[in-house]
């Protein structure tokens, strides 16, 4: 018996069995209590509530939604709003983060210091505080619609949000849209062709001016081909509020600003540490081979820096998506606010609703980490 206990394999099995028994007992305890509590309090179970009428309005919805719609639709609206804020936040944070990261490494002493000050300042302030600051101190303190800040009669900012014109979706608009996509595709094709020709013959081809030309020329041509009817719907003051155009609500703006500014500091740090992680000898070797500093950066340093910098940046994207749940503090109608907030209050089925919300974030996390793994695999140094 004692010998059996000293056998490492048997001990391993024994301890694992003990853990499993403990875990199952714990889960069983929790489960039976929960069932008893739910029965006693008369809480409904199951997912039938998703078909029940929600009965509350959501002021920003990318799809048609009215009070008569179901809680299931509330879930979809919340999910879509989460995805919208995540997309916009990631886009803005990447642009600002890359910019600050590059400035941080600038030769210019003043600019490098300012970029560092930006990072040190915003990184050390809780995101929720930043969201509330933008919302309560900046955006809600804007004047009312009658006294809104007016930029050339096109953009308006007031305490109800930012108003800007939107083109009408007619034939001209779609032709121009198609032409921009066309110019984009054509530039990629041209670039591939130029690279291939350079490898084969060594001849250079200036892709950049051609691409710029296409981006200007194509939409102009499309404007005339599409019938020259590009109409904009401008925001106009009607009574107490603006009509027409497009509105970005203060909640959305506060959340976007805070997420962008906060996440950008982490992205900037990732960019900086990525570039600094490339050994100095790499750049020196490139320059001694006769590369120009720009070529050394583009062809030697950056390809190596990207491999180091991208994984932490993707992690920051994931953090940004999870942090977008703080929207509930200002009431932007994403999934935590409307589904795990308002719907939960009405229905009271906390277990189902919180699990569904968690599942949404888990699935997003799994997708992002799948992308990360794919990237790491692709970027792995090919050793021969």
């Amino acid at each position: 018996m004692l010998a059996l206990l000293r056998n490492q394999k048997i001990r391993g099995i024994f301890f694992q069995l003990l853990t499993v028994i403990g875990l199952v007992a714990f889960l069983w305890y929790i489960g039976s209590n929960t069932v008893a509590n739910i029965e006693q309090r008369g809480i409904q179970t199951g997912f039938g509530f998703l078909d029940g009428t929600a009965g509350f309005g959501i002021d920003q919805s990318p799809i048609a939604y009215t009070e008569e719609n179901t809680h299931g639709r509330v879930f979809v609206v919340g999910l879509l709003n989460t995805l919208i804020i995540a997309f916009v936040g990631i886009l803005c944070a990447t642009i600002v983060g890359l910019l600050i990261g590059v400035l941080r490494l600038s030769n210019n002493w003043l600019i490098a210091r300012l970029a560092k000050a930006y990072i040190d300042f915003f990184r050390n302030i809780p995101l929720l505080l930043q969201i509330l600051f933008w919302y309560n101190v900046v955006l809600r303190a804007m004047p009312n619609p009658k006294q809104s800040f007016n930029f050339f009669d096109i953009f308006f900012i007031n305490n109800r949000g930012l108003y800007f014109p939107l083109p009408e979706y007619n034939a001209t608009f779609f032709t121009i849209l198609a032409s921009v996509i066309g110019a984009f595709v054509a530039s990629i094709v041209l670039n591939t062709w130029a690279n291939r020709r350079k490898l084969a013959t060594g001849k250079d081809f200036m892709v950049f001016p051609f691409a710029i030309g296409m981006f200007i020329l194509f939409p102009i041509l499309a404007y005339f081909i599409g019938g020259s009817h590009l109409n904009f719907s401008y925001p106009e003051l009607m009574g107490f509020n603006f009509k027409g155009g497009k509105t970005l609500s203060p909640e959305f703006l506060a959340l976007t600003f805070a997420l962008t500014i906060y996440t950008a500091t982490f992205i900037a740090e990732a960019v900086r540490s990525g570039i600094e992680a490339v050994s100095h000898g790499q750049k020196e070797a490139a320059i001694s081979l006769g590369f120009s500093p720009y070529q050394a950066l583009k062809l030697v340093v950056l390809p190596q820096a990207i491999r180091i910098a991208i994984p932490p940046i993707i992690n920051q994207y994931l953090n940004l998506i999870k942090n977008s749940s703080l929207a509930t503090a200002v009431g932007y109608p994403e999934i935590v606010t409307v589904f795990a907030g308002t719907s939960l209050n009405q229905v009271g089925q906390a277990i189902e609703i919180i699990s569904m919300t968690m599942l949404v974030y888990l699935i997003i996390s799994l997708i992002v980490s799948a992308i990360l793994n794919w990237f790491n695999h692709k970027m792995k140094i090919q050793e021969r």
Partner: protein
């Protein structure tokens, strides 16, 4: 014999040293740099003078009422009048010495740590500190008046949530990290599932879970304090992040250390606690400090489930009808406090990182 003409020594070239050269090289070396410098100076002028004017030159410091704020700048009177609420929440003012004592004892603890050598004694002392601290703040024993947790608030609650969160999450995190590094398949998969699940969801959903669903898990009659529920959620959340950082430390330990510990006949726990973890934790400390920073920032989320931490206290005070319109001052004040704590911690962690780096060389 050759004749050498003495050549007078040349002056050091004037254009390689000195402040003007430094300015030329660092600020005005290329046209782009000139433009950037001008832009930078513009940003500075645009941000700093108005802020200094608002926060200091035109600000009102003296007085006790709203009417004392006349000069158009910041009204720091508001902060002065509300500072007790920001620091202690609704804690009864005649009992605030108890919280101050706990703060004071912290420095005593730090001083004792400096002179004590035995790690076991240190751990024991830290435990004593937490128990004494809790008893003092909560009261309700030996005739000391009890202060229920719904009276706790302000900076004191923020610090408490962060400290208790880290302290409770740490042992769980160590166990999870060991579980994840273990060779036993079931233990490993349980740890991995837990860590990845927690890391995949936002803290706010975990806080909702711990504040709404947790009471359902226990039999009728067992009630949890709101604060305790938040602390359970935070500790559960933070344990997963601590585990991931310790795992990073564990991975950096060479295999030879494990084999050597096995070879001299140490048991699993002896091997881990005497050989592996001391080294792994040392590697992980800078990262653990960043976990501590983000936890400190995350404590603000407890306001969403209805606890009154520092940020919530400021929001509440700014909504006071008498002091309406001074929320900017309140937010600037909390910003400064949070920034001060987090920046000190991150500077400290960078210092540690540098010190440990040189040790490894």
């Amino acid at each position: 014999m050759a004749i050498y003409n003495k050549i007078n020594e040349r002056k050091a070239p004037s254009n390689t040293k000195g402040p003007t050269v430094w300015i030329r090289e660092n600020l005005f070396s290329t046209p782009l740099n000139v433009a950037l410098t001008i832009l930078g100076i513009m940003v500075l002028f645009w941000v700093i003078p108005p802020f200094v004017k608002w926060a200091y030159i035109n600000a009102n410091f003296a007085g006790t009422t709203r009417e004392d704020c006349t000069s158009g700048g910041a009204c720091w009177v508001f902060i002065r009048m509300k500072i007790d609420m920001f620091m202690y929440g609704f804690y009864p003012s005649e009992l605030r010495w108890r919280i101050n004592t706990v703060y004071g004892l912290f420095f005593v603890l730090m001083a004792a740590f400096k002179y004590l050598k035995s790690p076991l004694l240190k751990v024991a002392l830290a435990h004593v500190y937490f128990i004494v601290g809790f008893l003092l703040v909560h009261g309700g024993f030996f005739g000391i008046e009890m202060v229920p947790t719904d009276k706790w608030g302000g900076l004191m609650l923020t610090i408490m949530v962060a400290a208790v969160g880290i302290v409770c999450a740490f042992p769980i995190g160590v166990l999870l990290a060991l579980g994840r590094a273990s060779h036993l398949p079931i233990i490993k998969s349980i740890s991995v599932t837990y860590i990845e699940f927690i890391r995949g969801v936002p803290l706010i959903t975990i806080l909702f879970m711990s504040s709404i669903i947790l009471p359902l898990f226990f039999p009728e009659g067992v009630t949890f304090d709101k604060l305790l529920r938040a602390l359970i959620g935070i500790a559960m959340f933070e344990a997963a992040y601590i585990a991931e950082n310790i795992r990073g430390g564990l991975q950096s330990i060479p295999k030879g250390q494990f084999e050597a510990a096995d070879a001299i006949g140490l048991s699993y726990w002896q091997k881990m606690f005497l050989v592996i973890l001391p080294q792994a934790l040392k590697v992980a400390i800078p990262n653990l400090l960043s976990v501590a920073i983000s936890l400190f920032q995350d404590t603000t989320l407890v306001l969403i489930i209805g606890l009154f931490d520092l940020l919530a206290m400021v929001r509440l005070s700014a909504a006071d009808s008498y002091w309406l319109g001074y929320e900017t001052e309140g937010y600037v004040f909390v910003t400064f406090i949070f920034w001060f704590f987090c920046y000190s911690m991150s500077t400290f962690s960078q210092k540690l990182e540098k010190r440990f780096n040189t040790n490894l060389r």
